[in-house]
């Protein structure tokens, strides 16, 4: 079947989609967006977290057909969604780099989407709020302390969205390329 949806602000179409296929598979294998990671395929790990009509969900548990006509934001769209030009990092992405919150990197995209959503809802979250918001994202490197630091850092720099452009500009340069490699 054919599925049409808006992904990171652009209309996209996928053809020959199997009816039992997940949104995650469509994003990664049909639309060339491998940022959302495929790990547990059962909603346990949060590595595939995307926003569906603004709400964070596990893309592995959304049937592709359910995304028809919906709005999807993946980790690839966080910076542009915040009004930043191509190649720039969003505030949360920048904070993860600066705080050393990225180890193997596999859980990072899901954590970024979840953290971005938290800061959009609550620019000044308590530690308990951060833990709760990230409780559906597993880091098997167990790098949680640095991840919590990163979210605190992003919040201290002014939360999510374009407001953090200034924070991102501070240290723009060498690390951009590395972070996105």
């Amino acid at each position: 079947m054919r599925v049409n949806m808006t992904v990171n602000g652009r209309p996209r179409r996928a053809d020959d989609v199997w009816e039992g296929e997940s949104l995650l598979y469509v994003l990664r294998e049909r639309l060339g967006l491998p940022g959302s990671k495929n790990a547990c395929e059962q909603g346990e790990c949060g590595s595939c977290t995307v926003r569906l009509d603004g709400v964070p969900v596990c893309a592995c548990l959304v049937a592709a057909g359910q995304a028809e006509g919906r709005d999807v934001v993946t980790v690839e769209g966080l910076a542009t969604r915040a009004g930043l030009p191509d190649g720039k990092l969003s505030a949360v992405q920048r904070a993860f780099v600066d705080a050393g919150a990225v180890q193997c990197g596999f859980c990072t995209p899901g954590l970024l989407v979840a953290a971005d959503d938290l800061l959009a809802r609550d620019p000044d979250p308590s530690d308990a709020d951060i833990r709760e918001a990230l409780s559906g994202n597993l880091c098997r490197c167990t790098g949680y302390e640095k991840i919590l630091d990163a979210v605190r850092l992003a919040a201290a720099r002014g939360g999510g969205g374009a407001a953090d452009e200034a924070g991102a500009e501070d240290e723009a340069g060498g690390t951009d390329g590395r972070a996105e490699a």
Binding site: G43, Q66, S135
Partner: protein
């Protein structure tokens, strides 16, 4: 596999009548796991996410009529007043991502004995609206669970809504698991005080082939509170009565040994949770507090 995508409830019922093997799909938190792991290859997936009625709730006399697909996140945000037990249970479901998608209707459809909403529904009192092109059936939730992952739905029926009795008194919920998030219950317990009828109701999760009420425990405690004139005086539940209530709740279990816990552990833990939830709820009833869980109980 066919993907059916009705926009209206009537069309969903017609599709289910025409394709009784179609699997209803809303949040996908159970069904998509089975498909991803090749445990299930239904002939048809019946996507219900376009039917707006399923995402609405209304107050209906003494009940809240909860649309089958209202996600847990909204139960927590919007219904913790009239449905405090269900809202507490909803907080323990999966993770934020799962609570944004999973629903009470899905919990009932899956009918896993470990479903988090079941103990709260049993304790509050709830009726499942099962609908087909033939009409509507109203099934008391205790009659809805018929076996492990089996329910009383006919092949052409869909769950339209759940009518849950609004709380007339404090309700509590407890769940045993290895951590606070992403945990399938080892076992769970729901308790509701009903001061209007001076009764107590319970629900046990994941400690029998189906979710069950601990009826002997309910009857015992209802009589004990009456005899000790606890409802009118607000005096504490006699410790011996609380202990017997816990023992009867444990005796209502029919658990198995599995990877999450042993039968003996489950039986023991249900007794502990029964005593604790009674302590929390009774404190709320007598002094109007929120039943702070940090405090010690009976």
């Amino acid at each position: 596999m066919d993907f059916l995508r009705p926009d209206r409830w009537e069309d969903a019922l017609a599709a289910k009548a025409e394709h009784p093997t179609a699997v209803p799909l809303a949040g996908g938190t159970d069904v998509m796991v089975e498909i991803n792991f090749d445990h299930r290859r239904p002939t048809h997936l019946l996507d219900l996410t376009r039917i707006r009625d399923l995402y609405a709730w209304q107050t209906d006399g003494p009940d809240v009529r909860l649309g089958a697909a209202v996600p847990y996140a909204r139960v927590i945000a919007e219904l913790s007043g009239p449905l405090p037990g269900l809202a507490l249970a909803a907080r323990t479901v999966g993770s934020p991502q799962i609570r944004n998608r999973g629903s009470v209707g899905g919990n009932l459809g899956a009918a896993s004995p470990a479903g988090d909403s079941h103990p709260a529904l049993l304790a509050a009192g709830a009726v499942v609206e099962a609908e087909s092109v033939r009409g509507t059936r109203l099934l008391p939730v205790e009659d809805f669970y018929t076996g492990v992952k089996r329910n009383a739905l006919a092949p052409d029926e869909l769950i339209r809504a759940v009518r849950i009795r609004k709380a007339a008194g404090p309700q509590q919920f407890a769940k045993v698991g290895t951590r606070n998030a992403m945990v399938i219950a080892v076992c769970a317990f729901g308790l509701a005080l009903h001061p209007d009828t001076r009764t107590v109701r319970t629900g046990i999760g994941s400690a029998a082939p189906t979710p069950v009420r601990a009826r002997a425990a309910e009857d015992f405690l209802t009589a004990a509170l009456d005899e000790a004139r606890c409802w009118e005086t607000g005096r504490p539940v006699p410790p011996a009565a609380a202990a017997e209530f816990a023992a009867l709740a444990a005796a209502a279990c029919n658990p198995i040994d599995d990877v999450r816990g042993s039968a003996a552990y489950r039986r023991h833990a249900v007794g502990v949770m029964a005593r604790r939830t009674l302590g929390w709820a009774w404190r709320q009833y007598t002094d109007g507090t929120t039943g702070e869980r940090g405090e010690r109980c009976a």
